[in-house]
Symmetry: C2
Subunit: 348 residues, 2 copies
């Protein structure tokens, strides 16, 4: 594999969650994955407002204080970047070169979007809701703000939040200060940061991030289908200690707890299996309760590690029967690669 300067520029700005942080139920701020399309905007909360308009009966202009006075909820949500696993595909799309670390679980505090839309009065012909951020840039030759739409039914789900808090503190600048959308179960591109405007639409949104990016395409000519919910995935907190450069793991012989986290945006994770022989044989891991309805669940298994070289693998299945494939599922944009996780380990 060789990575270009342009990909490295993105990898230097954005970052994954080091996998040892899978040991935390809730990912500490700064360890949660981060993907910023353009620049992190500097926003003055004193003058910032949220506009709610379009096909509504009563357009709203809300300050941060207005929002904080509304019904407030805190929800643990696992977010994963749609491009997680992209750099493991061959050939791969040239974009942020994620390996496997683009995930995290935050406790997001905010107010349900549905209540706000109800107050604004959605028009009978409404079909979608567009979320526009303050981050601006050029992509595919077009100057644009980052914005994406959701079908009205998806936007009205009770778990969809407008969040101003993370892990008990103020939303950090890089995660969307002062306000972001959080859409549990969906890949992260849906949870628009630095929200400025919510527009109810009577026609489908044809902007770049919906119509061209974030689509599962079999070839360059294929219009594809939208990337939506997170495919199931299980990741292992690598046991033992790493070698600095290779990240190969080293541990002493004897009993060791193999643990990690599994999640799916489609349905609850029902089973996680662990292999210590490269996938030849599998054992069912024990599952803890999920951290929340929309958050990952911990799995664990005790392994009596014998001396030698071992390839650890972990796979999972959700209640809809979705699984983690052995072979990375290829598509043009490099989205949703949830191939099973392998960890090379030396015991001795």
């Amino acid at each position: 594999m060789t990575i270009s300067l342009e990909e490295l520029q993105l990898a230097t700005r954005n970052h994954g969650m080091p996998l040892e942080a899978l040991r935390h139920d809730v990912t500490p701020v700064g360890l949660h994955y981060l993907l910023v399309h353009y620049d992190v905007p500097v926003v003055d909360p004193a003058t910032w407002t949220l506009e709610v308009g379009g096909a509504v009966e009563r357009p709203l202009t809300l300050t941060l204080d207005d929002l904080r006075l509304r019904h407030t909820e805190t929800l643990a949500v696992t977010l994963e970047c749609a491009g997680n696993g992209r750099a493991l595909l061959d050939p791969r799309a040239i974009s942020q070169p994620w390996l496997r670390e683009a995930v995290g679980t935050g406790e997001w505090t905010g107010t349900p979007l549905a209540g706000l839309l109800e107050e604004a009065g959605v028009a009978p012909g409404a079909r979608e809701v567009l979320f526009s951020g303050l981050d601006r840039g050029v992509e595919a030759g077009m100057a644009q703000a980052y914005e994406r739409s959701l079908a009205l039914d998806d936007a009205l789900r009770p778990e969809v939040l407008l969040a101003w808090g993370l892990n008990g503190g103020v939303l950090p600048p890089q995660h969307g200060f002062p306000l972001r959308l959080v859409v549990p179960g969906w890949y992260g591109m849906t949870s628009v940061k630095w929200l400025a405007r919510i527009t109810v639409l009577e026609q489908p949104f044809e902007g770049y991030q919906n119509a061209r990016a974030y689509r599962m395409r079999a070839s360059e000519d294929d219009p594809g289908v939208p990337v939506t919910r997170m495919m199931p995935r299980a990741l292992l907190a690598p046991p033992g200690v790493p070698e600095f450069m290779t990240r190969r793991r080293f541990l002493a012989p004897g009993p060791v707890t193999l643990e990690g986290r599994a999640w799916s945006g489609w349905a609850p994770v029902e089973s996680v299996d662990v292999s210590t022989d490269g996938g030849a044989t599998w054992a069912a891991a024990e599952l803890d309760d999920p951290v929340g309805e929309f958050a990952w669940r911990r799995f664990s298994l005790t392994w009596d590690a014998p001396p030698g070289e071992h390839e650890l693998c972990v796979r999972c299945r959700d209640a809809q029967g979705n699984t983690t494939p052995e072979t990375p599922p290829w598509n043009v944009g490099g989205y949703a690669n949830n191939a099973l996780h392998r960890v090379l380990t030396t015991v001795g």
Copy 2:
């Protein structure tokens, strides 16, 4: 440039500070650069202690509460990774492939190390102080904890802190929870994280991170000299908006404030110059007061941007006469590359 999988693995875990965050006096948590050699350890603060031993009259064992009861200071400190700029060298050392973003300024809260050493009673023959972290791994074939020493005189400087807080909050796991060393002015490898033990030595420490890594070497055979304080550097907050992949900047014609930060670990930064024609001509930028004695200072300059393609450059000089070279200063390990910063910009 092509980057290997091993370098990408490091780039996915560690991360720089997106340069738009140069607009903040103090870097928000999660935007500060992060370099972790091995894994971020999970530490239970209830059972953690700091051992102070070696060539001292009164060895100490201190809990976090013991430390918090001591004299407490908060200091704004700019930290930069010694490998910042490494990936811009040719040939380059294979390690964390930093471009320019491995920097940040934190407000660190803790107690001066000197007071603790005084209490322990440093023996007359003492020469160095060794700082040992809880992070363990394998590097250059050797299993090791991350540990580095400082000459006694450097360790006794009044600005050297044992820090348990960052930006008014608890030290995050990835920055060394529950306690880290902060050595203002020095490259970041000196500020050992997840501190477990401080050992006063009567002989020089010959461990890997002092004797082999972090040395300025002209060739593989050269034993080299230690990497110590930060060379001067000035970085521009890129103006306008970025193109997603290339990070090239786009802005409208007319007046724009060019701003950024400059720092040096050797002496105060005295001047910053900005060029908008690739270094053919230079103009002196205005300098704000430094954020602190050991922190960066903001520079700014108004530019009446004409339509066209422009290469912005920024250079600086400190009070000792150290400057930012035009050509990257090469060495085997790829350390201390403080070559001047260039930003390609399209105005139109």
